[in-house]
Assembly symmetry: C2
Homo-oligomer: 201 residues x 2
DNA sequence: TAGGCGCCATGACATCTGTCATGGCGCGAT
DNA sequence: ATCGCGCCATGACAGATGTCATGGCGCCTA
């Protein structure tokens, strides 16, 4: 019997996935959480063999939760399950040591399949997604450039970003200009969009 | 026995929801589609009593599908099911004559509950969401302003938008300025964000 | 039929943005 | 110990953006 923990913030989706996994004879959902920062605790008390982690979650995102889990409970297998097949997500998940990466677009049968396979020591990744992730390349932005671009993502002006990050306006403009260049964007908003789609923010 | 059609583009979520509804004694999922433009056809051939429609879907969004369905098969109940509780979505769904509006954040039990209730002629809406939708007010943008703002959403420049919509650059700037004023935004990107969050795009 | 409004346009203006050159500081690698 | 690079900053410039006044056209409504 495989013990699975389910981490997903949308209650209806989470419980639906639990119902789906419940149909399998050899799988049992032993814990459910809605926040990233509750994953570790729940894995410990439930003794789950596999953690199924969504990425977009409050508290702490699924990638951070995976990193924490990998350190604290190395024996627990990690399956990332996300709406968005952003190349950067896949890359970060793999660097963190996740065992599988699934998108919610995939047929439901792949879920139970992935759970069984990671438990046998296999790693499960959509080949198409892997290919695009490799072709897109790694995040070209520096730490600080990411900070600034994130701060610009909601439509803030340069002066607002500058005061929020305690920088001069010139520095903010320089960082943004650099982001625009590195992402091959036409302007700030375009750079935000591209970075977002690639999973760099 | 209640016959339900499920329209949701993410296969894993769709099949999970089907599994969830399948646990109910009195509910049967008789059709599943992944695109908005396949809803009507599927309702007709399956003879579903209730259509469960996601909003974000390829082909045609769930709201358009609901409008089409309401006209062609008035007897079929409509339950909107969406990730985002955007006020504009709720408002449009209600104006279209949807019978229920659920967000995926809600507990799973509400799904089957809503299906049963709409079949008894009730309308089901989250009261909190209804309150915010009313307080936010209706979409203040004109048809054309929405077009222009949509075209600006991907970070396009004024000249690109102008040529795409066959307008002069001045007109585009005027429309955008008007959008910024009506949404109380600080600039174009902010206006896009606000309109998006409110479900106006 | 007169007014209101959406839509399109022009021109002028102030401001914001994006780019570039330049330079200082700190850190890690060769 | 020198080089490269991330990081921060300044100043200057061109071009993009946002605002405003103004006006024409068509449509609907009072």
């Amino acid at each position: 019997m495989i013990n699975v923990l389910l981490a997903e913030d949308q209650a209806m989706v989470r419980e639906a996935l639990a119902a789906l996994l419940g149909l399998e004879e050899d799988i049992r959902v032993v814990a459910q959480v809605a926040r990233g920062d509750e994953v570790l605790q729940a894995v410990r008390t439930s003794g789950a063999d596999v953690a199924l982690l969504d990425i977009e979650m409050p508290g702490q995102d699924g990638l951070a939760a995976a990193a924490e889990l990998r350190r604290a409970v190395p024996g627990c297998r990690i399956v990332m399950l996300t709406t968005f097949g952003r190349p950067g997500y896949l890359r970060r998940a793999m660097e963190l040591g996740a065992d599988a990466f699934l998108v919610k677009d995939a047929p439901a049968a792949q879920l139970a399949d992935a759970v069984r396979r990671v438990l046998r020591g296999e790693r499960v990744i959509d080949p198409t997604l892997a290919a695009t992730a490799l072709s897109v390349g790694a995040d070209p932005l520096t730490e600080r450039e990411r900070d600034v671009l994130r701060a610009a993502a909601d439509g803030s002006t340069v002066s607002e970003i500058a005061s929020r990050l305690h920088l001069s306006e010139g520095t903010v403009r320089n960082h943004l200009s650099s982001c625009i260049g590195k992402t091959h964007a036409r302007n700030r908003a375009d750079a935000v969009r591209i970075a977002h789609e690639n999973g760099w923010l």
